[in-house]
Structures are given as C-alpha cells and as structure tokens.
Symmetry: C2
Subunit: 344 residues, 2 copies
C-alpha cells in the first residue's frame, strides 16, 4: 500500500477517449494550475502530448510525460486488445502506478480495458475477492458535509455475479469511498432487493443482509427497492454487477424517455407545448446533471491502487475533477480504510 504522500502523482491515460488526447491534456493542464499538491504524469503518444501542451497554459513543473506507443480504442475487445498491445497507454499507465511511479490512475478510455489493466497490474486488497465498479448519480436528497446530491451504486459492471461475501465487500468499499470522497461521516449503506424485509431476495442477498447486520463499523440500513435508487434514500446501494449495470443503464434512459413520453401524451396540448419550449434550455442542463459521470468519474474499488474511470465523453473539466478525486482518495488512504473496514 502506498503511504500518505505529501505530493500526489496521478497517471493519466491520455489516449482513447471520445474527444481525443488533447482534451485529456487540457484537463491535466487545468489541474496543474489549480492543484499545487498534484503532479500529472501523462501517459500516451509523446509528440501528440507535447504538441497539445505547447498550445495551452499549464504549470510545467507539475506535469511530466511518459511515452506509450499504442492505445486501446473505445470499441476494441479489452482482452484481445491488451494482449495485442502490451505498450498501450492504459497498460503502461497501470504498470507505472503498480511500480510506484504514480499513486493512482485516471482513464477516460475503454472501461473494460482499464479494469483489465488494473486486474493484471494491481493487487486485490486482502479480504476482497473481486473488484467493483462504482458510480455516483444525482438524487434529490443531499448528504454529508458537502451537501452532496449524489448517491453511490456498486457494482455496475466489473463483475457479473456476486456471492454474499462479495456483496459484503462491496458494501465496505462503497462506504469507505463515500466517507472519504463525499465527506459523509456515516454513509447509509443498503442492499438492493425486491422488498425491504431481511428475508427478501435471492439467497446471496439474504445472506449478505445477515452478515452486514452484524458489522458494527458499517451504517447498514437494510434492503432498499428499485424505487429508492432515483429517490436517493441511502448513500450507498450495493448489488451485483448484472443488476447494477441494468439499473445504471435505465437511469441513463430516464431523461430521454420522460421527455418522449410527455411529447407522446400531450402532443395536442398547446399549453403543454409552450411549457416544454420554456423548459428546453433547462432540459439540456438537466441532461448534463443526469450525466453524472461528469462528476469525478467512476472508481474501481477493491485494488491496492486507485483507478478513477472518467466518462469517455469527459471534457477537460471532468478530467481535472477525476484527477482531484483520485488524489483525495490517495491522500485519505482509501485502500487502508477498505482493508480496516473488512477486518472489522
């Protein structure tokens, strides 16, 4: 485990995101101007990075470059691509983190390749059998010292199936992350099920419920149902990667569908149409806010090193935010917090 450093180095996988390497470089440049305690190690095609850096304001003392001659494209199959491209930027960046050249990894590229690179180069925290991909999403409720409107849900796709033991580890990891990143002292943690009663759900969920109830270090509030996901009833929702992935993708569809439904239902109403027109700019902004991955990215939890997966569509601001979240997780020793939580 990396100790608590004074200065934190974040390795940025510069290649393979939707808006190209220059956008990631712009994010790192912003970070170099805003965050004196963070050093950005840019991993990718050196000429491309140098050219991007040359054109923008940045603090050269807080940025360095490590060349990687290849990269994994957004639509490539992760396993095949990593096997064929050992010098791809995400693999090199993960290796640099594993070797102690950087404290954490940020990538806006292919999610599967990022997770796989971590699996190959990082170690699972003792007590964790599988890493989980977590994501924050906006809710009505606010929580913690930051009055954060976001809840965390995990796993949303690093695994497919999960045992009771995995679900317990996910709960501990999610709780530690919410505590450290959202400054929420006692995050409410719940299991997603088909009813609030402890005996509801498949055997793995029922067993995880029993185990979590006996963990005094955790603020486990029991089961929640699907309706509680958008409501934001709790701070951390725990489920397996299959269900989490389905829920996450349903959330992504919420905005479009409600507007489409509204138009379908009220196409004859002038009053309704006028209201919709007045809302149209607001609706665009609502779309932005429901695109929660803009807000610091999705952490992969369970490894001894930290990986923040920024959305493929991330702009410079989101990349800089992901770097700050990664640094915060490092500074507050997220890995140690998870390990201690599991030991209790």
């Amino acid at each position: 485990m990396v100790g608590k450093p004074q200065h934190i180095t974040i390795a940025f996988d510069v290649m393979g995101s939707d808006h190209g390497p220059a956008e990631v470089v712009r994010g790192a440049a912003q970070l170099s101007l805003e965050s004196p305690h963070i050093h950005a190690l840019l991993v990718g095609d050196r000429p491309v990075i140098d050219e991007a850096l040359a054109g923008i304001k940045h603090n050269g003392e807080r940025i360095s470059v490590h060349h990687a001659g290849d990269f994994v494209g957004m639509d490539e199959k992760p396993g095949e691509a990593l096997a064929r491209k050992p010098e791809s930027s995400v693999a090199v960046a993960a290796r640099l983190v594993a070797e102690g050249e950087a404290h954490a990894l940020v990538s806006a590229g292919n999610t599967g390749a990022g997770v796989l690179a971590c699996k190959r180069h990082f170690q699972l925290i003792p007590g964790v059998r599988r890493a989980a991909l977590a994501t924050v999403y906006p809710t009505r409720g606010v929580r913690g010292a930051k009055q954060d409107p976001f809840s965390l849900i995990l796993d949303v796709g690093a695994t497919v199936e999960a045992t009771a033991e995995d679900l317990v580890a996910f709960a501990v990891m999610g709780s530690a992350y919410a505590r450290i990143i959202s400054r929420n002292e006692r995050p409410k943690v719940a299991l997603l099920s088909n009813g609030v009663e402890p005996q509801k759900g498949p055997p793995r969920v029922v067993e995880a419920h029993q185990r979590l109830s006996q963990m005094p270090g955790l603020n486990f509030t029991g089961n929640v149902e699907g309706i509680d996901i958008p409501r934001g009833t709790v701070d951390v929702i725990v489920t397996d990667g299959f269900v989490g992935n389905v829920c996450l993708k349903m959330l992504e569809g919420v905005h479009d569908t409600v507007m489409e439904l509204a138009q379908y239902a009220y196409k004859e109403s002038l009053r309704w149409r006028a209201g919709l027109a007045m809302l149209s700019s607001g609706i665009e902004r609502l779309k932005d806010i429901t695109d929660w991955e803009q807000y610091g990215g999705a952490p992969i939890l369970g490894f001894d090193r930290i990986f923040i997966k920024a959305h493929g569509r991330s702009r410079a601001r989101a990349i800089a935010n992901a770097g700050k979240v990664a640094a915060k997780a490092v500074a507050n020793e997220l890995g140690t917090a998870i390990q201690e939580g599991l030991a209790k």
Copy 2:
C-alpha cells in the same frame, strides 16, 4: 383447459382493493353495460355488493354474486392470510375459476395472495415450471394493429430466481400474451442483459439466449440493456423476478424523481419555474400514464386459468378494462397458445 366459450364469465375478487368493494362493483357494472359477451361473477361480502349494486346503473342479467365471508387485506402476509382465511374472497374466486364456474379471475387486492391462490387452485401449463407476473408499461414506440405504446416485461416478481428453462418459458408466455392482447402478430422478444452480445450476462441468461435463438416460432431479437426498457426497443422483455421487480420499481420512481431533480437543479430559474407551473396539470396526467397498471392490469402467466391482477389503486374504469383483457385472453385461448409455443 377451458374451451372457447360464446359467453365468458369473469370472477371478480371484490374485496381488499385500495378504494374498497364499491369501486370494484362499479367497474363490473360498467362492464355489464358495455360488453354483452361478458358475465361478471362478483365474489365477496354479499350485503356490501348488493348495496353497492343497488345504487348504480348496471345490467342485472350480466352480473351475479357469490358470497365470501372473509378477505385478505393489502398489508397481510399472503401465506399466513390464506391459511387463516380459506373463505377469503380471492381464494373463493380462484376456486370458482378452477371448478369451471368462471373462465378467469380479476383481483385488485393483495398481489401475493392472488398469486398464491392461483398456485393452490390452478394447474401449471405443461412445460411451465413457474408462473410469471407480467406487466405492461408505456414507451415511446408503438406496436401492433392497435398502435399500442406499451411494452411487456416479465417476470416482475412472481419468482425470485429463474433458470434458463424458466426464462425460455417466460419468453413464450410473454410473446403469446402480446400477440393476443396487443394484436401484434410477431412481437419482438428480448432477454434483458448487461450487453447485447450473446455471451453477455450470467450463465442462465447466456443459456436462455442460445435456446431462444433456436426457436423458429418466436421473434427473438437477442439481448437488450437497461436503457432499452424505457425506450421500448422491443415488445416483450424477459428477465427473472428479482431483476424485473427492481426495474419495475425504478420505472415507478421515474416521474417523481425527474421532477424533483429538475426542481433541485433549477430552483433559481424563474423561467424554469414558470415552465414547471404551466406543466403541472400535464405532469399529473403524465403520472397517470406512467401508472401503467391502470391499463388492464398485470397478467399472471403460466397457469391453465387466467388471472389479471389489477392495480390496488384501480378505479372502476381500470377494473372494467381488466375484465375485458381477461375475457380477450380467454376468447383467444391464451393458455393453448402458450402450450403450443412451448411445444415448438
């Protein structure tokens, strides 16, 4: 299996719904005026039913009453309640259907008690190991001869876990129901998974995918993801009862949450507030339309007899609609269609 009858008798469980027996009686009374081919057999407290009937317009030749001295309340535990109350209206109504006194059952009471009463009194169709609760919900797309905006999803909670074999049976049952009720000749059927590729998902989903691909009688289009649920990409979405229940409850939360999010995000914008105010009556109507259980209720599929579970909050119109849907399923021999689909 009940043959194709000229006149169809629907047993209505009159007791235990949110708006009381008189509302269910009003629904049956409407039906008696509108549908000459349907006979309503009202099962419940005879004095209460008689009093309700006395005050409203109805066709007495198309309504009869069967007394049941007890009923299961909405918050009672289904198993315990049915054991304690063998003469509860839902149990008596299911028994009457099993004995051939009526062709199908409609209830707006306790869902679990309804499913359990069917399990006790009806037979599973050969080839079906578990019955499934299906529900329609509104989407943007329209489908079938009726230009129906609704998709069907099953199972949404009759089971918790499902094998590949169960998922295949659910697909056949959902397809038959959509064909008969929505008059959609070749309903598109898909499996819910965490990716569209055939190998995505837990083993049961992967295996079900393989099997469904080999069924020529079925219009199986492969896997869909969570985002496709609100989009209405396909006509029938197949999943296990745990995942289906979570998704259904997330859909229920869509309306409230989007409006809450909007208010959270734009509370400072006067323009946005004005737009919201203009939409407020429309939003109430949107809420109605997203309360899709108003539209004919949720069928329990897989038994030799038909059970339509109307929403607990059903008004008379929804009860009458549930009766019409049940009669349509009987007239078109839904059970036979399912059995034939499974044999292919």
